[in-house]
Symmetry: C2
């Protein structure tokens, strides 16, 4: 049974896990650590975990489960830093957005511990210890990528914990996970970052105009292009092969559409634009998005939490 | 003074203009026409305009202002259809998303009338007579692209009307408009349509998986890729040059990022990802988007208005 959870990294994800655990499983003790002293201070102020510790070793010393919530490029170092203090029976998990290379890195750093990598498919464009909230994982998927020989009970315990936070758990092969997420998350972020960069470098159109008229579609891209730079740099480097593969497909398709526009081939455009509607409908039906016009954005005041 | 407005085309935009006019300027009479009989029927049921007419000629015969709310590729035909019934003093405007070619087409079709092209930068991914709502233009920009010699009073009258509906009016050169919108609206739509198409054609990742894990970023693209296919086909054909120009810039930038990923050049990635955050902040500050985490989507039930 998991009675004490240590969270390493107290940003959006780590903070949300801490808040959600305290809300949903108040009997579970939570400890936490972040390498940045100012983050630890804010985490203590907001009560993101029961106890904010001054070192990773102190945070994990009584843990039954450690959840690493640091950028994927920092996972191995974070694991090594706590290794000497980690109880033998403790399970190590994480929330990283790419799984194959992260799983390997954790295995290297902690050869004598059970590692059950996890990826809750949830997030916002905000980051840091003030960004987390307890309901982040509600109605979202959490993908676990345990080794085929991982003990069933441990996988069940980690699954049950995520389900307590409102997520639905899926078990997946890490390489397949990385391909799926390359298309549903990594490629969209890469494209959003690119177009926002392109728009801000134009000479004929000013940055002020881009911002002013962003409601025509551009603003939807800026949201995900405001995501944490360190996290995303690491994701693209960690999941390089799958991202490059999906990017290749995308580029081919974009070239075909470019040709259709150049040739005034309206039928090709119309056919694609009709097909893409069906996918949207399925996403709304499955509760992964809200179909209210404008997401109700125009009706609400802006909540400036920063 | 504008006392009677005729709306040709009663989909999302036409319907919203009708509803907004009735709410904000109840003293102004509204008539409307749509080429599709079933749309006329739904428009009458929802009361999108004061009087739904059986022909374009009947709708415009007492109009001081006609607003064409049809796809940009259908503007010229719609203008010709009503030309014989149009009062001499009536101003003709539209809501098309591209302005240079549309302005030329309307000038050809109505050589003896004053044309003041307009583009309210507002919309949702929904379409048809059930999609409109009165507040669509509130806190949004409406760009007018009158000829340099257009009578000031007429431009002021059309501006005042849009301001009554809650929009802020800008006057712009049509060619510049088309460049600005190519980057803030047309290119984002093209890219969103492409990636949604790419994702649905993969063999290694099923469509079910794409839908299931869409909350990682992909769903933001599906929203705009669900926009009306006819409208968007026409926009890309009408604004071809500017769209191809912006697409060329985007493709160059994407190639540079691809190279950075291939070479594990994390600094290039990090620098871009840091720059793009600032633009998002400006958009939120200017009220063109809502920064609440997830737009509050996860907290709300889905409002199935269809």
């Amino acid at each position: 049974m998991i009675q004490c959870v240590a969270i390493i990294g107290l940003g959006l994800l780590g903070g949300s896990v801490g808040l959600a655990l305290q809300e949903s499983l108040p009997q579970v003790a939570t400890t936490g650590y972040d390498a940045d002293p100012s983050v630890r201070e804010q985490a203590a102020e907001r009560g993101l975990v029961g106890t904010v510790c001054a070192s990773a070793a102190e945070a994990v010393k009584h843990a039954d489960l450690v959840i690493l919530c640091v950028p994927v490029g920092a996972m191995e170092a974070a694991a090594r830093e706590m290794a000497h203090a980690l109880p033998q029976h403790a399970i190590v998990s994480d929330v990283g957005s790419s799984k194959a290379t992260v799983g390997e890195a954790l295995g290297r750093a902690l050869p004598d511990h059970l590692v059950i990598p996890a990826h809750p498919v949830a997030g916002t464009e905000r980051s840091g210890p003030d960004a987390g909230f307890a309901s982040l994982f509600r109605n979202r998927w959490c993908i676990l990528t345990p080794a085929p020989d991982a003990p069933e009970q441990a996988v069940a315990d980690v699954s049950a914990l995520w389900e307590s936070l409102g997520a639905t758990v899926e078990i997946m092969d890490p390489v397949h996970h990385d391909r799926v997420l390359a298309v549903t998350s990594h490629l969209p972020h890469l494209i959003a970052y690119t177009i926002v960069g392109t728009a801000s470098d134009l000479e004929e159109v000013t940055r002020g105009e881009v911002i002013k008229y962003s409601a025509g579609g551009f603003r939807d891209f800026t949201r995900i292009a405001a995501s944490d730079p360190t996290m995303w740099r690491d994701v693209f480097l960690a999941n390089r092969e799958a991202v490059l593969e999906m990017l290749g497909r995308f580029t081919e398709d974009l070239t075909a559409l470019q040709r259709a526009i150049r040739n005034s081939d309206g039928d090709t455009l119309f056919d694609l634009f009709t097909r893409t509607r069906a996918i949207r409908r399925s996403i709304v039906e499955q509760g992964q998005d809200d179909e209210r016009a404008d997401f109700g954005r125009s009706d609400h005041a802006i909540d400036n939490r920063d």
